[in-house]
């Protein structure tokens, strides 16, 4: 590699001065653009007046602050970015990096151990327990979607549909037939898997972005049906009074045949929360275990082959139809399990809980985790929902920050938090590879026209 010779020393001051000028110019342009963007939408606030007509108030102070912030920010970036050619990633020696990737196994074990201990550590803190349940639920959804997106490489923007099918299946079956949670759970999973098949059949021929949009449409269709089929689903009012789970037949009540009385414990409502936590943790670990095992089976290898190159895998005799359908229904089944859990935990469900935003959140978790990495999904779910909690006081900014984070992550860390992969198939020795050489979700060799 021949590097271009460094510029002569005496030229530097002049170049530097020019840099400052150029930076100021750049910052001024950025500020001008910011002014154009925000002058109407932030500078002027419309409100419905007492007569019903719109009135407006001006907020030019805020506008000026934002434009000034953009100017200063752009200026600082323009002045500093030229010198910062050494990134932190390059400072870490390669041997240390290799050791770190070996640590991933221990990190995963530590993560699971901590997850198991959460109810014991935080037994008295109901808030943390509820948050932990939420995080594990999304981790499970992430694992489920990971089968479709990370392994089979099919981009699914309507994953929430299966979550909804699972939740409504559980709620309706449990209410109409009085069956227990443990019978309804597999039924909800099976019904969601059927929904996955139903979606899978028509979209088999689609690729990449088209597939994404169709799955998005499917998710919305399910939501709109739930919203409008009043007799069956209760419409916008949803379904309430969904039976709570019992400890293998022992309800969590203060009654004599309840959980607490049977085991001779003083009654506490926390028992149920702890039980729910272990329930979802067991489901999530089951999903993880099944995924890891499936990756070693022929079907899992077929998924990964499909992700890498659809045409090549077809040429090798892989039946792409069944491969895609199994991926869809597997992912859907786990989504259905999570949905059933969601229904029994909340006791109330409505179409409000199954919007496109949920699909986007689960997809963001999978992408942020580094598509295909199980540990990454768990870390990303924790980071994402933990971050949401930190922003609790700023509810209206929550989604704004979430969207911006999604853009920033894709730009600055496109391979996700865990950006190494351990291939399922290897020669002589198992080793991790950078995710950059693994293909991404696109399923097919579509080239832009």
């Amino acid at each position: 590699m021949s590097e271009p010779a460094p510029p002569p020393r005496e030229a530097e001051p002049a170049a530097k001065r020019l840099d400052v000028l150029a930076a100021v110019k750049e910052a001024a342009i950025a500020a001008l653009v910011a002014f154009g963007l925000f002058v109407l939408l932030i500078g002027i606030r419309t409100e419905q007046g007492p007569t019903g007509a719109l009135v407006f108030t001006t907020r030019f102070g805020l506008l000026a602050e934002i434009v000034a912030a953009v100017f200063v920010g752009r200026l600082l970036r323009a002045l500093t970015s030229r010198e910062a050619t050494v990134s932190i990633g390059n400072l870490v020696p390669a041997s240390l990096k290799a050791a770190a990737s070996g640590l991933a196994v221990y990190a995963a074990a530590a993560f699971v151990a901590f997850a198991l201990l959460v109810p014991i550590i935080f037994y008295t803190n109901r808030y943390v327990l509820d948050l932990a349940i939420l995080i594990v639920t999304y981790t499970m959804l992430g694992f489920g979607l990971n089968i479709v997106v990370g392994l089979a490489g099919l981009l699914d923007l309507g994953y929430v549909a299966f979550y909804a099918v699972g939740a409504y299946s559980y709620a309706l079956i449990a209410q109409s037939f009085g069956l227990s949670f443990w019978i309804c759970l597999p039924l909800a999973g099976i019904l969601a898997a059927f929904a996955g098949l139903l979606l899978g059949f028509p979209v088999l021929r689609l690729r990449g972005d088209y597939l994404a949009i169709v799955t998005l449409g499917f998710g919305e269709i399910i939501r709109l049906i739930l919203l409008n089929w009043q007799d069956f689903t209760g419409g916008p009012n949803g379904i309430s009074g969904i039976p709570r789970p019992s400890f293998f037949g022992l309800p969590f009540t203060a009654a004599d045949n309840g959980f607490a009385a049977t085991f001779g414990l003083p009654y506490s409502p926390t028992h149920r929360v702890v039980f729910l936590y272990y329930l979802i943790l067991a489901l999530a670990l089951l999903t993880n275990w099944v995924t890891l095992r499936l990756r070693r089976l022929p079907i899992g290898r077929a998924w990964e082959a499909l992700r890498e190159d659809e045409i090549a895998s077809r040429a090798l005799g892989i039946n792409t139809t069944t491969t895609k359908l199994t991926a869809f229904s597997m992912g859907a089944m786990f989504g259905g399990f999570a949905g059933a859990f969601f229904a029994t935990r909340q006791g109330f469900i409505s179409p409000e809980s199954f919007t496109f935003g949920e699909s986007a959140l689960v997809l963001a978790i999978v992408v942020l985790g580094g598509m295909g990495s199980q540990l990454g999904v768990a870390v990303a779910a924790t980071a994402m929902l933990g971050g949401f909690e930190l922003l609790r006081g700023f509810d209206q900014y929550r989604m704004l920050v979430f969207g911006a984070a999604m853009v920033a992550i894709v730009i600055y860390r496109p391979r996700g938090l865990v950006s190494t992969r351990t291939p399922s198939v290897f020669l002589h020795q198992r080793k991790t590879v950078p995710a950059a050489i693994v293909q991404d979700a696109r399923a097919g060799t579509e080239t832009p026209a």
Binding site: V33, G36, L37, V39, L40, L41, I42, I44, R45, T46, E47, Q48, A53, L54, F56, L155, L157, P202, V203, R205, L206, G208, D209, Y210, A212, I213, V214, L216, G217, F218, I221, L224, I225, N228, I311, F356, G357, A360, L363, A364, V367, Q396, Y397, M399, L400, F402, G403, A404, A405, M406, V407, V410, I411, P414, D440, R442, T445, T447, P448, A449
Partner: protein, 304 residues
Amino acid sequence: MEYFVQQLINGITLGSIYGLIAIGYTMVYGIIGMINFAHGDIFMVGAFTALIAFLVLVAIGVTAVPLALFLVLLVAMALTALYGWTVERIAYRPLRHSFRLAPLISAIGMSIVLQNYVQVAQGARVKPLPPLIQGGYTLFEGNDFAVRLSNIQIIVVATTLVLMAGFSFLVARTRLGRNMRACEQDLKMAALVGIDVDRTISLTFVIGAALAAVAGLMFLLYYGVVDFFIGFFAGVKAFTAAVLGGIGSLPGAMLGGILIGLIETMWSAYFSIEYKDVAAFAVLIIVLIFLPTGILGRPEVEKV
């Protein structure tokens, strides 16, 4: 019969709005092969910009409706085009050579940002605007039902036709249009023959956003209310229109828009209004399955 004709008129008006948005999708998809998921929200930003610009103009004393509307159109187009440019610059350009899924995820993030930005800045409640353009013509009457063609419907369709003509001219006859068509065929080759690819892509986003702003203004005038969530459904339907007409094809986008508008209106009129969005999504799925290249699209050749 009269009822049908009335629905036909309504459907074509709605379809014109979808068609204008669909052009933005079809151009961007044609050139860089990505679904600009945030385009629906650009349309929403356009509608809000138009609304606020109109309020400001009234406040400073421009009350003549035609002049005010013309100024609003210019302001909305300019500022929304700036949004289109910024979104491309921030969220898509750094990802030009990234993995294939990256721009789509970034676009979804951008869509969430735009929606919530407008919600934070302007509030979540719907914004009403009193009808500015009233009156119309009764075409014919029969069976106690009068078929009406309102002035606003005429304006929407006429504006769309003018813009379509102007835009077709731009693509077919100007230097920029030639650059755009070259980029559509092959980005790398276009760069090799001296076309500034970055600039062409930026301008594509700018033009698409400006047309979306016009659609936003039309939507505002036609329905009289906007809120921060209109972009999602309008965006998906416009994308459906682009796919139905054949993605990459400009007349296709317009044709698809009108067909989607008609399907939605007819479905609401004859079946159920609750399921009109389901109808639009179902059309999208059916078209993609049975007619993946759309009505006027070129068949895609699979290369290994």
